[in-house]
């Protein structure tokens, strides 16, 4: 089967590279746009089915836009929500490029965030210029370590990373619950599991408090831009990034070319975990100032969608993260204004991914805007 289709796909790829334009434009622009539209329409149908009346549906979509880009505060919320999604999404994208389907960003965020908090309040007497980087690095390192457990298992025993990372996610929640109850972590005078607050010197400073003290956007946005650039360099300019991509595209060929598969698996998982750990650190040092059970808030799972939507390309992940951050921020507004549960956003996000990942489906629903010639293999 593969020997039949592989040359076909190859010629198509080569042709695409020779003549970029229409086909890439369809893939990168039209499909996502239609995907978002189709998901919003289906979301409206879901609301209809749960006895939400039409004016409220209209109101909720207006609130979705107002809450995401309608004001300075909305943009600030969007950026705040997007930052960890982009960071974790970048990590997942690195893994996807290396052929690893790492679903463990959630656990890596939990562990990374937890360690960043601990460094953030327990290390005292350091100036801001040292303490913050230290806390961020500690978060990244913890995430990298946690992810590389799955990588190591995959490399040495062949245990599939989908299962191991999910189990590591579940384990991380328990670790979090346990650690937060320890006396040197738990906030004094509190019976519930909650950590001490991060010291001022380890907090990511908020950027726009001089305009309005409620604006939550923080220096994490620079962290995000730096991470996008780093991931781009790592993937497309560095030797190890080339090895990631080679192993992802064709593991056998990569192995025969002398790329050490097990090393690449562990390195890819570790760098993915570092990014996710950074996302966790970003959350606790920039937004929450402390760790509580469930502080990860499912970011790691949304990040899977972000990485898929961004086609595992750092710049794509950036835009996908912004879109999902906007949905998140808008969803909160929607809940306040129209009384529609924010969980609807989860449905819309999942639907967007369905349409992105199955271009044939989008083409079947929206026949306009696509060239006929690329469809003939579908029949």
């Amino acid at each position: 089967m593969t020997d039949q289709t592989a040359p076909d796909a190859l010629t198509q790829k080569l042709l695409q590279r020779a003549a970029p334009g229409r086909a890439e434009f369809e893939d990168l622009v039209i499909v996502p746009i239609f995907a978002v539209i189709a998901a919003l329409i289906l979301g409206a149908l879901v609301m209809l089915a749960t006895a939400v009346d039409l004016p409220t549906i209209g109101q909720s979509y207006v609130a979705l836009i107002r809450g995401s880009v309608g004001s300075l505060n909305a943009v600030s919320e969007t950026l705040t929500a997007a930052a960890p999604l982009v960071l974790a999404g970048l990590g997942l994208a690195l893994g996807f490029r290396a052929g690893l389907f790492n679903i463990g960003a959630e656990g890596q965020i939990v562990i990374g965030g937890l360690v960043a908090v601990i460094v953030g309040f327990s290390v005292t007497g350091l100036p801001f210029a040292l303490h913050l980087p230290l806390a961020l690095l500690a978060g990244a390192a913890a995430g990298a370590f946690y992810a590389s457990i799955a990588g190591w298992l995959r490399a040495t025993t062949g245990a599939h990373e989908v299962i191991t990372t999910i189990m590591l996610n579940l384990i991380s929640y328990r670790i979090l619950d346990y650690v937060l109850r320890q006396p040197f972590i738990q906030r004094e005078g509190r019976a519930d599991p909650i950590s001490q607050s991060v010291l001022e010197t380890a907090q990511l400073p908020q950027l726009l408090t001089w305009i309005d003290p409620n604006l939550r956007v923080h220096a994490g946005v620079f962290l995000v831009l730096g991470a996008v650039a780093l991931a781009h360099w790592l993937l497309f300019r560095s030797k190890i990034g080339f090895e990631f991509r080679a192993s992802g595209k064709n593991p056998d060929a990569a192995r025969y070319a002398g790329i050490r598969a097990s090393l690449i698996i562990i390195a890819a998982m570790a760098s993915a975990g570092a990014m996710a750990g950074l996302a966790g650190a970003n959350q606790v040092l920039g937004v929450l100032d402390r760790a509580t059970p469930g502080f990860s808030a499912g970011i790691g799972f949304d990040a899977i969608s972000v990485a898929l939507l961004g086609r595992s390309h750092p710049v794509g992940v950036l835009f996908a993260g912004l879109l999902f951050g906007a949905l998140e921020a808008g969803g909160r507004q929607m809940q306040v204004d129209a009384g529609v549960s924010i969980d609807l956003i989860g449905i819309i996000q999942a639907l967007i991914i369905v349409f992105i990942a199955a271009p044939l489906l989008v083409r079947a629903i929206f026949p306009w805007g696509f060239r006929k010639s690329r469809q003939e293999r579908g029949a």
Binding site: T50, A51, I103, G158, I163, L170, P251, S305, A358, R377
Partner: protein, 423 residues
Amino acid sequence: MASTIDANLAPNRPINVQGARRARVTGMVLIGLAIFVAGLFGLDAAGDATFRLSRPNDPFALPNLVVPAAPFNYIIAAVLAFLGARLFLRGGGKWATLSLGIGLALLVIAFLVWATAGKSFSLTGMLQATMVRAVPLVLGAITGMMCERVGVVNIAIEGMLLAGAFTGALMGSLLGGVGGLMAAIGIGGLFGLILAALVVTYRMDQIIAGVVINLFVLGLTSYVSSQVLAEHRYLNNAPVFRAYKIPLLGDIPVIGPMFFNQNIFVYGALVMVAVATYYLFYTRMGLRARSVGEYPRAADTLGINVYRTRYINVTVAGMIAGFGGAWFTLGSVGRFDENMTGGRGFIALAAMLFGRYHPVGALMAALVFGFADSMQQKLALLQTPIPSEFLAMAPYIATIIVVAGVVGRTRTPAAGGKPYIKE
């Protein structure tokens, strides 16, 4: 990108090199376990461990099983050390998995004895809970197996279970238990159909399709439960299927309560194991299904409709998952909570791998996981010095160990994960 994931599920490095290394690593692990058991469970255990095998009013009561804790655990440590040393020195990949399995079983026994030392503990109660907790896992594993045997990787078991649980609670509240069960089976089938459509007709990457279905179901059920069920509580109050004791068989000590004094979900799961085994390995349909999973082009040439076979099997598999999902609500609490499946769909996937794509194997594997799951619950009662969070990790850690220890040695259906394009 993701389409290459499954290509190296079973790396084809030279077998004996890998086998020898595996044997050495396993040997070292076993020796480590021996030291661990002797040092912790042996030194620290005082008194006798009493295991209750019967309840006082059972017709055929067995006496309690009394084990002197410390000496028993030293013996276990010695056996572990022997197995480990033998494996480390003599190698032999064939023995590695078996020894590891025996070693882990011994570890669990030693742990139980240590935890119970000086106290008494109802073994029968735990075994009964083991069977109950194995239900969604074995049904989920059969779901995964039915899909994988026709060449469709099903990561969406979790979502299908969740959908079944939700529908069971909602429709069970409206129509009663049986109606809820039927609706749950139907909704599971619907998601099976959706998965089949996405991966067969629209050739979406199978792992992405599964992940997306999980996200979608999680979003949908959470949305409806917070938007509708939170307000109208009568919609989330379903009747629960009670246990039905089979006469005579239910009175057998230990085994009786475990297998023959349960609700319809347990009986259903056991029947499904038998039916799935018969279907896959003893019927023409099953043979065709397996051939589609191994070599779809050959099957196609012989006149088997690959697409239709995949559609039917994945849909039926979804129905099984829907039934398993109903267990969460109609089989236990009668109420739906957000994300109540808690990763069991993925543990089921591990059970499928562990059971080597065979329904009976899946049952055994599910019992192992069910044991880990019920152990963490029951041990909380014994007040061991281990924090409850670590006990709660037990099923997840067991899953990782199993997947790491076994997966490389399972043969997966050859066409798994690849879309078939008819010429």
